[in-house]
């Protein structure tokens, strides 16, 4: 299960993480992440077959509240930090190709 993080693996993970890395970064991360993952595999020294995973340490579980309207940001506030906005919306480059032929 030793997963050496080769450049191809770095590219795959970078795509999942939506990070466009340079060739230089890919080479560097391959070396650094391999060393870190190799260190992390120290965890395999431990037998955890009968151990429950612990996601957090709190003495509480589900937290509910009444389903009522709470104060929230105005449209204007929500858009105030957007790199591009207009007509009350976030603006992004065109996502769908124009196939209408019009």
């Amino acid at each position: 299960m030793a997963a050496k993080i080769d450049p191809a693996q770095v590219r795959r993970v970078a795509q999942l993480a939506r990070l466009e890395l340079s060739e230089e970064e890919i080479a560097q991360f391959s070396v650094q992440l391999s060393a870190i993952v190799e260190y992390i595999e120290k965890l395999n020294e431990l037998d955890t077959e009968h151990v429950e995973p612990l996601a957090h340490c709190l003495p509480i579980c589900n937290v509910f509240r009444e389903d009522t309207v709470q104060p929230s940001l105005s449209n204007e506030q929500a858009l105030a930090n957007a790199p591009d906005a207009g007509d009350g919306y976030f603006k992004v480059p065109k996502i769908l190709e124009d196939n209408s032929g019009a």
Partner: protein
């Protein structure tokens, strides 16, 4: 003249000092010292003077004052404020202004505190030296050629150089305690769930906790009084029924009789000699005060760094997915399509360490590796938590170093990220277990660099933790030492 939180508050309340004078005094120091230390990303003199004016008006008209009335404090730049930018020291958020205040900011303002500025940090709180700041370099006031620690390096340096009375930081794997140790000040990480994380820019959500960095244990207690307590906007913030918030200053001067201190012998092996000596000296002092040392084992402690760098980076990869170049933050002008808006914006605006952690976390959560890494780390986290539970069945607290060495030089650990991670060995397990811990000054090495003593107690026992810390502080003068550079 003392310029601690308590001293300033008392002088303002008794009319001996105006809040405006206190603010001007700290800004005079900032003008003198800050150009060389670089602790702040944003200075907020105008709003600070306005906040001070309100306090002085309240005092003049005899209105009741909040517990931090007129006290100049700084806050880490990952705490959202509607005044001034909230950058997380990242180019991604360089021009971001929050539409709301973090819960702790609301609490500070309601307590009549004055916020002098926002402090530098490792980008998105990822790092142990503040060298990962995308915006600024912060130097350790004790030696300007050395790092202040991190990630709350700006907050610790600002308090150490007395450019504010106290500060808030955040601690995911030691980010309050380690810079406090490196800078010779007090740093408290409360129990996970004690302080609301609403408005704290998320890094590792199951580990992050906000806490005070201060000159004295009492000041830390006063700040914790203000920021602790339930907030429905953070569902992991515990209710008063689960864990009532006491007055953390009550009983602070009362030494604990028959204190049992857990120590792990191997924790003092392989570390800087002077750090070891200072910790041993501190333990001897506690023994003189009637404490008993209880040697214990923590067999899973050595797996903490491995577990942490899976769990924290997994959570980070998810939390930082929100920086998409669309909703807020940086957008690359070179992006052609919407995928590139996401991926190019992130590549151009995020620093190397942030990318490294997003990559590691994405890898650990990716198909085929989830069970082997993420699930495994969560199981080991349980074993580590159990180590602490067992320790606190045998003793009242655990004592150990904050870091294996004193502050290191710039660039000393940046080439090898793993070496930087390994230096967090004593602080990281505490976050995985969710328990409270404090770092207090306990010595200086031969190069006049501060050494920190770390004390850890059971969940929601911050009162006792502070009491134990105060026992040491009241018998020593390490907390009164100042970097020569920042002397009056």
């Amino acid at each position: 003249m003392e310029w601690t939180v308590c001293s300033i508050r008392d002088r303002i309340a008794s009319g001996k000092l105006k809040s405006r004078e206190a603010v001007e005094r700290f800004f005079a120091r900032i003008e003198k010292i800050e150009p060389q230390v670089g602790a702040f990303l944003t200075l907020l003199k105008e709003t600070a003077l306005e906040q001070a004016r309100k306090v002085d008006e309240k005092t003049a008209s005899g209105q009741p004052l909040g517990p931090l009335a007129g006290v100049p404090v700084a806050v880490k730049d990952n705490l959202c404020t509607t005044f001034g930018p909230t950058t997380c020291a990242s180019r991604m958020l360089e021009h971001f202004t929050s539409p709301y205040n973090a819960h702790v900011i609301e609490k500070l303002l309601a307590a009549d505190a004055v916020i002098v500025g926002k402090t530098n940090m490792d980008e998105f709180a990822m790092g142990s030296s503040t060298e990962n700041s995308g915006l600024k370099k912060t130097c350790n006031p004790w030696d300007l050629s050395r790092v202040p620690g991190g990630s709350s390096g700006g907050s610790a340096a600002a308090v150490a150089a007395r450019m504010c009375a106290a500060a808030l930081g955040s601690d995911t794997g030691g980010s309050i305690r380690q810079p406090a140790g490196f800078c010779g000040v007090v740093g408290l990480k409360p129990t996970y769930g004690r302080v609301s994380r609403y408005g704290l820019v998320a890094y590792g959500s199951s580990l992050d906790q906000i806490g005070p960095i201060a000159q004295t244990v009492e000041d830390a207690a006063v700040l914790l009084n203000v920021i602790a307590g339930h907030d429905p906007r953070d569902s992991t913030c515990v209710s008063e029924q689960t864990a009532p918030v006491p007055d953390y200053t009550a009983g602070l001067e009362m030494p604990l009789e028959g204190l049992r201190i857990a120590v792990v012998e191997s924790f003092l092996e392989g570390i800087q000699t002077e750090v070891r000596q200072a910790i041993e000296e501190a333990l001897r002092l506690y023994q003189k005060l009637g404490a008993r040392l209880v040697p214990i084992q923590m067999p899973h402690f050595e797996y903490a760094i491995s577990a942490y760098y899976v769990i924290a980076t997994a959570e980070a990869s998810s939390n930082l997915a929100r920086y998409d170049g669309v909703h807020y933050g940086y957008r690359s002008p070179r992006a052609g399509d919407y995928i590139e808006v996401y991926s190019k914006s992130r590549d151009e605006a995020l620093g190397a360490e942030v990318k490294r952690r997003i990559m590691l976390g994405t890898f650990a959560l990716s198909s085929g590796y989830y069970d082997a890494y993420y699930l495994k780390a969560l199981k080991v986290r349980n074993l580590i938590r159990n180590d602490f539970t067992r320790a606190f069945e045998q003793a009242d607290c655990l004592m150990m170093p904050v870091s294996p060495t004193t502050a290191f030089r710039f660039g000393e650990k940046t080439a090898d990220p793993l070496q930087m991670y390994l230096a967090d060995i004593y602080t990281i397990a505490v976050n995985l277990a969710g328990v409270p811990a404090i770092s207090i000054p306990c010595g200086l090495d031969r190069q006049n660099l501060p050494i920190g003593l770390q004390i850890v107690t059971a969940p929601f026992t911050e009162s006792m933790l502070l009491q134990i810390a105060r026992m040491f502080e009241s018998q020593t003068d390490w907390h009164t030492r100042m970097p020569v550079f920042a002397a009056d």
